[in-house]
Assembly symmetry: C2
């Protein structure tokens, strides 16, 4: 039996899919995909995942994509390891409510600001003809649009709307965490891992102007509790090959 996870640096989607393995103690083979070299659009990778996106789970030849789906799959396929999904139906529904919220109302808006900061680096490093060739290799039309937008620059309106979405989410999450220890209630679950990986862990670095520490103190306490979870700490300590010039993207530095 082989379990392979194809992933990039321990941030966002990749982090979200690596944490459950470490936290639950499921043995897996880690395969690093180098986004700096656009390996996710290369022939061998697109043969694996026609959408050309990391992460990808290969379980004995069955391919599973999309982190929310992957993480529930790991619960269903490996029920004998410690669980990150509440056992009762209401707890499961709470977890899924928040997963959906992060997937639909948080992830892309944080990500837009991450991409926005990459623009100058991208323009500096990719020649015009090369850029068009890279674009042709991207399978998903929306992903291609995002790259072209990032190159030409997102509009002020797009960025302002994204900030508004992040602020709305921050206040909603703060209210919830002032009344609950974890997103799904009493138990550290996949929903915590989701918000943490896409927003919570980097919110102070990406959005210093939001003053998360004073605006969302319960979220910050929760963030520190998540960081201290053994599987999270282990995932974060994984190799990070980020080009230092791109560290704005992972939020590690400016």
């Amino acid at each position: 039996m082989t379990v392979k996870l194809y992933h990039a640096e321990p941030v966002a989607n990749s982090l979200k899919s690596i944490i459950p393995f470490h936290q639950r103690g499921i043995p897996f083979e880690s395969v690093y995909v180098d986004l700096h070299k656009f390996e996710q659009h290369s022939d061998w990778f697109v043969a694996l995942n026609p959408e050309g996106q990391v992460p990808v789970l290969d379980h004995d030849g069955t391919i599973i994509t999309h982190t929310t789906v992957i993480n529930e799959y790991l619960e269903d396929a490996f029920p004998d390891y410690p669980s990150l999904r509440p056992a009762d139906p209401v707890g499961k529904a709470r977890m899924r409510y928040w997963n959906k919220f992060v997937d639909e109302h948080v992830m892309n808006y944080v990500s837009m600001h991450g991409w926005h900061r990459l623009v100058t680096v991208i323009s500096r490093n990719i020649e015009s003809g090369d850029f068009e060739k890279l674009m042709e290799r991207i399978p998903l039309p929306d992903q291609r649009k995002k790259w072209m937008n990032a190159r030409s620059g997102f509009t002020e309106e797009q960025l302002a709307y994204a900030t508004e979405k992040v602020e709305y989410a921050l206040d909603k999450v703060e209210k919830h965490l002032s009344e609950n220890k974890w997103f799904a209630g009493d138990m550290f679950s996949l929903a915590d891992i989701n918000y943490y990986s896409h927003c919570g862990m980097m919110i102070e670095r990406l959005f210093p102007e939001l003053n998360a520490a004073s605006r969302a103190p319960h979220m910050i306490e929760w963030r520190d509790r998540v960081t201290a979870e053994p599987g999270v700490a282990k995932a974060l300590a994984g190799p990070d090959h980020t080009d230092p010039r791109l560290r704005t993207f992972t939020g590690e530095a400016r």
Copy 2:
């Protein structure tokens, strides 16, 4: 034990949440919420669901919202009724992949065209001062924006992008259904109900220019198979109080 479903007409979100009850044979109390009177923004309803949106499930006082979450909850809470979720982990993952696709890449884009057709009717029927008062009662900022956009008119660019998304989905679904009987493989599941309720059942009426019958023949055959499922037929036969002037919205007429 009481199971109440608050819903509107049998189309889109409401249809998606009604079908599983009928198809699985779970007894429930149906509570009609009149969207024509904006009951979903009234005090009694917002006390139930602070987001001010139908449908809402009330299971012995526990409130569950969002149709994808509700339908999985019904699987977890009522495991003794016939299931609409594959039993094996891979089947579950396939179902969730498609649910996510419909939720994130289909629903809102079909819905924008439905709303677009309402514009003239809205302008005709709501006085300017009343409209602003109605807007103030809408809890979700994005929902408020959608109403204001619908009134002032979506831009050509927004509508064109929405059509592009629907076309992409149609071709993707057609390819999948040319190789699989149902979305999740061998079994009629919640993913079929999702695409059917939000797009499949009304695609020819809302987007006649896409020529779905010739462009996506397997999807059309699948659509007819879904319509013939007993629980679907029963849900569709439920009361429809749609104001005849608004029938463009449910796709029943032009």
